[in-house]
């Protein structure tokens, strides 16, 4: 922990001083060392009486050391704009966090990543598509950044981990707090295999005041933001606005026009967001070429029985219910049952809803 780091942690702990103002302050005095040397009078001149008083009061080396030790005891480390591991992407924005608490593999911040977000309330379509994008992009070597929210966020992390990919979760609460509590196991797994990141000191509970600033990190950290499903009013749309402000790519996955869960994404597309019809679109937007050649899917398809092909033909156009497939293929119920399970096991079809089957693209 250098003196520069200590200055930033000091600033992060001043009541009433936001990250934007803190950065200005450091720049005004011409560096962390100069700020440390400044008198209370000089501070008052710059930021006014009350805030200067707060800053002066928080200037307590012992208390700051204790805070760092406390975080360390919770298994968390701290990085600041003065640290070499601090992500460059965050330095570009107006208000980079003064202190970032983290657990896990910090080298992930140096790799190329995409932010994958969607709403908490989602349809099964949303879940399927999110998992698919996350899996394929993770397999392509990108880091999946998301917010570890219940719903699509958690699905994105889960799919990335399951594909042995890398993932970063940016939290709006202390890293030792699990919100919602049912995601605690996933949070722990990300700490082990990926990276947990938060601006909040240990013990902070999630709230509006912490979740909204978190969104700017989600938007800024990666090169592109992909929205898989979002309704009309959603925190997801806030992230998208910020991403556009920061000049990041925004891609959206279209949904049915009559689906309330897709109103947000469809509106984004109308307003000029790029279409994400598959992971290839995302890779292309990042200037990466999608891998050519036969996918595992195609290999699997090549070795199908006549009956399995019959089922796939029926499913070619749209997802169908069990009864509909039975009516079209004229197969017996028991035969169809086992065929559908086999196709599911081979990863060629998926259950889109209760007993409704769809082909995987």
């Amino acid at each position: 922990m250098t003196r520069e780091d200590m200055v930033w942690i000091w600033l992060s702990r001043v009541r009433g001083l936001g990250p934007g103002r803190a950065r200005q302050l450091v720049e005004h005095f011409g560096g962390e060392e100069k700020l440390l040397a400044a008198s209370e009078a000089e501070l008052r001149e710059k930021v006014g009486g009350v805030l200067a008083g707060n800053i002066w009061q928080a200037k307590n080396a012992e208390e700051i050391r204790q805070h760092v030790r406390g975080a360390w005891h919770c298994g968390q480390k701290i990085m600041t704009p003065a640290s070499p591991e601090y992500p460059e992407a965050l330095r570009e924005i107006y208000d980079p966090p003064c202190a970032l608490y983290y657990r896990g593999d910090v080298s992930l911040l140096r790799e190329r990543g995409v932010t994958l977000i969607g709403s908490r309330r989602h349809t099964q379509y949303g879940a399927r598509v999110t998992a698919q994008f996350s899996r394929e992009l993770a397999q392509a070597g990108l880091v999946i950044v998301s917010g570890l929210a219940e719903g699509l966020g958690a699905i994105a992390h889960r799919a990335a981990l399951d594909a042995c990919g890398k993932t970063i979760a940016v939290l709006g609460n202390g890293l030792d707090v699990a919100y919602p509590a049912m995601l605690r196991p996933l949070q722990e797994e990300i700490a082990q295999k990926g990276l947990l990141l938060s601006e909040c000191p240990p013990g902070t509970r999630a709230g509006r005041g912490t979740l909204l600033p978190r969104n700017r990190l989600l938007a800024a950290l990666s090169e592109a933001t992909i929205v898989t499903e979002a309704g009309e009013k959603s925190g997801t749309m806030h992230v998208v606005e910020l991403a556009a402000d920061y000049g990041r790519e925004v891609l959206a996955v279209p949904g049915n026009i009559d689906s309330p869960a897709s109103i947000g994404v469809n509106r984004l597309l109308r307003n000029g967001a790029a279409f994400a019809l598959g992971s290839a679109d995302v890779l292309e937007a990042l200037g990466l070429a999608a891998e050519e050649g036969e996918t595992a899917q195609e290999t699997a398809r090549a070795s199908l029985s006549e009956e399995e092909k019959l089922v796939l033909e029926a499913l070619a156009l749209e997802p169908l219910s069990f009864d509909e497939i039975a009516a079209r293929t004229k197969l017996s119920v028991s035969k169809l049952n086992s065929l559908l399970t086999m196709l599911e096991l081979k990863g060629i079809i998926d259950q889109a809803a209760a007993r409704v089957y769809a082909t995987k693209s």
Binding site: R120, R121, H122, T123, Q124, E150, G151, A154, P180, M182, S259, P260, A261, P319, S321, F322, D323, A326, A327, V333, S334, K335, N337, S338, L339, L340, T341, M342, E344, L345, G347, Q351, A352, A353, A354, R355, V356
Partner: protein, 510 residues
């Protein structure tokens, strides 16, 4: 003079024969009842006194002592009215005493002398028959439930006067014609026929598998998807009850006092509401009465809206489901009731009921869905073999003319009976009788997997993340499916189909 009348009593469903001893001698007029009578037995003094007078007999103005023997058993219920009344008649020389010692009598009396029905007549007569009683006089209302008993002559009586005349030999009562079980079971029609269920091909197939292997079934579906309707079809496709099963079930219903139409030949279908208490479900109360699970013995217990049941009620189900019997202990009674039922449960997939529906949007958060699902405990889920998802059938699908006429219950039942016969043969002398009860250590041997089946099973375990319990369940269902196909070995196809009933389960409860 002393007279002895043969009668019987019961504790729970266990009947026993006993004697009512009546002694009439000169002295201060009074009536004493001894031999651990409960309030209903003691009150019978007043009913008997009035009924005797109103039937034209004299009630002796003498010292009357009534003893119910064996004296150590607590006597409950009002059915000693008739033996007491006849005993008094015999002891006061208004009727012959000798015949009363051979003829078992039971029945309640009303003040005008007419006979009323008895709760649990069937188990009492079964016990009496086992102890060598060859003739019984009983109220006419109980005649139907007992008519299938052979080896004992049953004389139905309407009034005390008729009963006394029969005892004296003044009036003949025709004994009940014995009903052969095979005759009455022949024309049993199911309450709800499968042919009235439209569409839902997958669910129909699942129901047939469940019936064939005795598997417990959980139906998950949106409101209006036909879960209840499907569940009600299950008793109709289960094999016909054997005479033994019919007797066992009727005995329980007889004790519960709800037998009106004679021997139960239809498998019972018990559907307690979700506000039902644990005692009402399992059995109990002061008199240790049978609960809904015992009334569903040899039949189907249907729990609709499963997550709405209080947890403690569902937990109470676990032990009886394992053992097939439930033991109820109370201060003044300890009863063992059989409770071997097939469990079928239904629930919505989430609080709003639309999760997973293709046509309607669910507005529950994942957290709400999780909380709703977690109301059902893991141990209970472990006892449910099959999970089937249902979605509402579109109206145009229901009324479409192309839809082939659905199969009726009778033809499905014929297939189920054949598959059950196969299992009975295989599990002969093993202590269980259907695939659902196949213990884990017998699984591999009973299933005899082909090589492809093994590979598919391994793939299922990996892809569907099956637990060891899930693995056992898939094997059991696959065994049933193979039995239905009439194949000795379980093939890959059977495993794949079986996994489709388990895969959904793993989807909801990770």
């Amino acid at each position: 003079m002393l007279a002895k009348a043969l009668s019987c009593g019961r504790q729970g469903i266990e009947g026993y024969t006993m004697r009512v001893e009546v002694d009439v001698r000169d002295g201060l007029p009074e009536v004493d009842v001894v031999g651990l009578p409960d309030a209903a037995v003691r009150e019978s003094r007043e009913r008997v006194r009035t009924a005797l007078r109103n039937s034209g007999f004299t009630f002796p103005a003498a010292q009357i002592t009534i003893n119910l023997t064996p004296a150590e058993i607590k006597k409950e219920g009002p059915w000693y009215d008739l033996p007491i009344a006849l005993g008094i008649l015999a002891a006061s020389r208004q009727a012959p005493a000798d015949r009363l010692q051979q003829l078992l009598t039971l029945g309640t009396l009303s003040l005008d002398g007419s006979l009323g029905p008895v709760q649990g007549a069937l188990p009492m007569l079964l016990a009496a028959r086992a102890q060598g009683v060859r003739a019984a006089l009983l109220p006419e209302q109980n005649a139907r439930e007992c008519a299938a008993l052979s080896g004992i002559a049953l004389y139905p009586a309407q009034t005390l006067k008729q009963a006394a005349a029969f005892l004296r030999g003044e009036e003949e009562i025709a004994p009940l014609p014995h009903l052969r079980y095979a005759d009455i079971v022949e024309d049993v029609r199911p309450e709800v026929d499968l042919s009235s269920l439209r569409g839902q091909l997958a669910a129909r197939r699942a129901l047939e598998i469940a019936a064939s292997g005795g598997h417990n079934l959980l139906l998950i579906g949106t409101a209006g998807s036909g879960k209840t309707m499907l569940a009600r079809c299950l008793p109709g496709i289960l094999p016909r009850m054997t005479e033994q099963e019919a007797l066992e079930t009727t005995v329980i219903h007889s004790v519960a006092g709800d037998v009106q139409s004679g021997l139960l030949t239809r498998r019972p279908f018990s559907a307690p509401h979700h506000t039902t208490s644990a005692v009402a479900l399992i059995g109990g109360g002061r008199a240790a009465a049978p609960g809904e699970i015992s009334k569903a013995h040899n039949g189907v217990l249907f729990l609709d809206e499963l997550p709405e049941f209080p947890r403690q009620v569902l937990e109470a189900l676990r032990q009886p489901m394992e053992d097939g019997v439930v033991t109820i202990s109370r201060i003044n009674a300890r009863c063992v009731y059989p409770a071997r039922f097939q469990l079928i449960c239904a629930m919505n997939p989430c609080p709003c009921g639309n999760y997973g529906s293709r046509t309607r949007a669910c507005r529950c958060t994942p957290h709400e869905v999780q909380r709703y699902l977690s109301r059902i405990s893991g141990p209970l889920l472990d006892r449910i073999d099959m999970v089937v998802e249902m979605d509402a059938v579109e109206p145009d699908e229901v009324f479409s003319r192309e839809a082939p006429a659905a199969e009726d219950s009778a033809s499905v039942r014929a297939r189920v009976e054949r598959v059950r016969a196969l299992q009975n043969e295989r599990y002969k002398n093993e202590g269980f009788f259907c695939n659902a009860r196949l213990p884990a250590n017998r699984l591999e041997a009973a299933c005899d997997l082909t090589k492809e089946a093994r590979e598919t099973l391994a793939l299922c375990m990996k892809r569907l993340q099956l637990s060891m319990r899930g693995y056992a369940r898939v094997l059991r269902i696959a065994r049933t499916i193979a039995d239905m196909a009439g194949e000795a070995r379980v093939s890959a196809e059977h495993i794949a189909e079986a996994a489709s009933y388990r895969g959904t389960n793993e989807k909801y409860w990770k």
